[in-house]
Amino acid sequence: MEITIMRLAECTPGSGGTITQIDHDGPLGQRLMEMGLIEGARVEVVRLAPLGDPMEIRIDDSRLSIRRAEAQHILVSE
């Protein structure tokens, strides 16, 4: 079975997956992880803002708004 790894920034609304890695070592990465975006968590893109950025994502029961540049660091497997 082929597993595709994508960056969340490239996912289209309705798609997502299980997080495999947060590839940012600094405060941004820490912030993402504190919000629950850690390895093994399921995350889904809900929609994009009218101008294409930021994106609204679903994690657990909450909805977060993050910029595409930040979502670049979230690697998910579909």
């Binding site: 912030r31 992880m33 919000m35 803002a49 909450s62 708004s65």
Partner: protein, 731 residues
């Protein structure tokens, strides 16, 4: 000699200090307001702009409402002060006796992250499990006893919006304090992060004599404010931390990643034990968002809501403003009446009171209805959850302007008054974004500019329509607003690209579920905003009005006084009755105008005439503009005095402006000059109160000076271009 008895301390009420902490959007503010009501005050922590809200419950509990946060891993000085406050290290403020962590029952996984960190502070802790009603409706059931047992702290279910569970919460707080007083050590969660980090944190802390919480944070948050602060006082710590870091497997996950994994792993197993839930289903919030954040409909919604807010503010504020105006006019009349017939009538003291103090303060207070209404709308939109959506929609646009989604509310508020706008910029975490926001906020056309626009447009813009329905005066009015925005964008971009270059802030923001706004929260916000506006602007404008009054009154010319006296005598000889009264009134007005010309202010106006000529102005407009520097409201009133009119004779001023002839063959005051006046007002930083607040918020005098300089410079250049351009176009 009797030994000092204990009864004195026993009878003094012991105040238990409580710190309230939690994620944003957990109903923390609702809880705080429900517990403390009006018995709260807002202050500042020293050295940072974090607000500190303190309130009292009953006689024995004092609650500090800490800013909402997702984690105790402090990344900025503002977040550091929260940690210091919790550990009792802020000078002059003893630490809390009990910590209350508020968690959202419908969002437990993320909320528990902060809770586990808080437990590591080693202080008596009570967990308030809020929004149990929301959890119920979503089919989430929490076993409170199991959760409490795993966390090692009492868990009290509450519904803050309904006031349920609050008595139990207070009882739990008191019980926790009593247990601590009796020497019972607080239990800890069954979670040991240190074991996964090499296990050396405890021994390092003991050797250095530091709280293990601080050492843990210094170790995990490498390069952060806690580590920096500790290294400053404990240089030996550097080697200890380096050694502990080297002990971790090379190329493995960093400490921050380990912490997140360990905490959430623990949370997962707690949730399986203590939480049971039905499969998630679509929420009403999601159905609303399908429209409100839709690519097209979302923007339509946004424009409609913002438009409605603005129109409502101006429409509904009008009757209140008229009432305030009327009462100040009445006050002036009462003072004059009190002086009438006395030796001091028409003298300097009366003038000081009426023209200086009352007119000055009245000029500020008249904007209170607009500011109050604006804050009411902002508070309602924020409390119901819409503001997060607005920031979501606007973030890309604002980033294109060098700002961020977080700048939205400060900019919006500045359309009523830049003072609350600048104050609300505190919510912007990135210091550079915050500074740029503060520096361009005054370019948003505030309420004080409206009287100037109204008079100039009324006098010079013909009341015609374009394309049959767009009123020209309305268009010009709107154009002034857009001018501010259009200028703010390149200014923000240039500032961000040069002086304030730096990494862009992160914009990770929660979109909370929609909910009914809480009247108590909303009204308290309006109350605080109004009170701070009146206190700040009121005191400064009061002082400046007196100064301007003095500059416009002194020195007095004995010559003018003598001429006036003889004119009055002549009038009394020639006329009687109402003719006499009218004539005397006119003589007095002319005298006032002449004295003003003779005063410091008048001479200043004449002196700068060559400078303002290229803008199409004469010395009267120049003088009024200078007089308006402390507060824009003074422009119209100064013009009135210069043209010898009564203060509220707007129609009169408009007519006089139309007819004014420079007397030396130059064209009369026309459309080009009117436009240049409006453009100047739109862009100039004529508000001492705003500059003072700017100085306080940026903690330097440099930035207000900078803002004043660049705005005045831009105002001059644009006013010049407007005048010359309008003349060239033959307007």
């Amino acid at each position: 000699m009797n030994p000092p008895s204990d009864s004195s301390t026993a009878s003094a009420a012991h105040t238990t200090r409580v710190a309230l902490i939690g994620n944003p959007n957990t109903g923390k503010t609702t809880l705080f307001n429900a517990l403390t009501g009006l018995a709260q005050r807002v202050g500042n922590y020293p050295g940072v702009t974090v607000e500190r809200k303190i309130g009292r419950i009953d006689d024995d509990l004092e609650v500090v409402d800490l800013p909402g946060t997702y984690s105790l891993a402090a990344k900025s000085p503002d977040e550091l002060i929260v940690i210091q406050s919790l550990l009792g290290e802020v000078r002059g403020e003893p630490g809390p006796d009990v910590i209350v962590v508020i968690i959202d029952a419908s969002n437990l996984r993320r909320n528990l992250y902060l809770a586990t960190q808080v437990m590591e502070l080693g202080l008596p802790t009570v967990v308030a499990l809020n929004m149990t009603d929301v959890a119920d409706s979503r089919g989430i059931r929490v076993d409170v006893a199991a959760l409490a047992s795993e966390l090692g702290a009492p868990v009290v279910p509450i519904v803050a919006t309904r006031g349920e569970g609050l008595a139990d919460l207070c009882a739990a707080i008191r019980a926790a304090e009593a247990a601590d007083h009796d020497g019972v050590a607080p239990t800890t969660a069954s979670l040991d992060v240190d074991a996964h980090l090499g296990g050396s944190i405890g021994s390092i802390a003991e050797t250095m004599g530091l709280h293990d919480f601080l050492v843990r944070r210094a170790f995990i948050d490498e390069g952060g404010p806690i580590e920096t602060a500790l290294l400053a006082t404990h240089p030996d710590l550097r080697d200890a931390l380096a050694g502990a870091r080297a002990a971790l497997p090379a190329g493995g996950p960093r400490p921050a990643a380990i912490e997140a994994k360990v905490r959430y792993g623990w949370i997962e197993q707690v949730m399986t034990k203590a939480v049971d839930r039905d499969p998630p289903r679509p929420r009403p919030t999601d159905r609303i968002d399908a429209v409100v954040t839709h690519r097209v409909l979302g923007l339509v919604c946004f424009v409609t809501i913002m438009g409605a807010v603005f129109v409502s503010i101006f429409k509904w504020a009008a009757p209140f403003m008229d009432a305030i105006d009327a009462s100040f006019v009445a006050l002036e009349g009462w003072i004059s009446g009190a002086f009438a017939g006395t030796a001091l009538a028409g003298g300097l003291l009366e003038s000081l009171l009426v023209d200086g103090m009352v007119a000055g303060v009245g000029g500020v207070l008249i904007f209170l209805p607009q500011i109050g209404l604006l804050f009411l709308f902002i508070a309602i939109l924020e409390d119901c959850g819409y503001m997060a959506r607005a920031a979501f929609l606007m973030d890309r646009l604002l980033r294109g302007c060098g700002l961020s989604g977080h700048s939205f509310i400060p900019m919006l508020s500045s359309f009523a008054c830049a003072i609350p706008g600048i104050l609300s910029a505190r919510a912007i975490r990135n210091p550079r974004d915050r500074l740029v926001t503060i520096l361009v906020a005054p370019l948003m056309s505030c309420s004080a500019r409206i009287p100037v626009y109204a008079i100039m447009i009324g006098a010079f813009i013909p009341a015609t329509t374009i394309a049959g329905f767009l009123s020209l005066p309305g268009l010009v009015f709107a154009a002034m607003y857009f001018l501010g925005i259009a200028v703010a964008i390149p200014v923000a971009l240039i500032l961000r690209g040069t002086l304030m270059r730096g990494e862009t802030s992160t914009f990770i923001m929660e979109l909370p579920p929609y909910r009914m706004p809480q009247p108590k929260t909303v009204l308290l916000r309006v109350w605080h905003a109004g009170r701070s506006f009146v206190a700040r602007a009121g005191t400064i404008i009061f002082a400046m009005s007196i100064l301007i009054w003095a500059a416009g009154t002194f020195p007095r010319s004995a010559e003018i006084a003598a001429t006036t006296e003889s004119a009055r005598t002549a009038a009394e000889a020639d006329l009687t009755g109402s003719d006499l009264d009218d004539r005397l009134a006119q003589i007095d007005r002319d005298a006032a105008g002449a004295q003003l010309r003779h005063s410091v202010l008048g001479r200043l106006g004449r002196a700068i005439e060559p400078v303002v000529e290229p803008l199409g102005w004469d010395w009267k407009i120049g003088t009024a503009a200078v007089a308006a520097f402390p507060a824009r409201e003074l422009l119209v009133s100064t013009l009135n005095i210069l043209y010898g009119l009564e203060d509220d004779e707007e129609a009169g001023l408009t007519a006089r402006l139309k007819a004014e002839d420079r007397g030396d063959g130059k064209p009369p005051f026309g459309v080009p000059a009117a436009l240049s006046v409006m453009v100047f007002i739109a862009l100039c930083a004529q508000c001492v109160s705003t500059l003072v607040v700017m100085g306080r918020e940026t903690r330097s005098w440099f930035w207000p000076v900078f803002a004043f300089t660049y705005m005045t410079g831009l105002a001059y250049v644009f006013a010049f271009a407007t005048y010359q351009g309008a003349v060239a176009l033959g307007l």
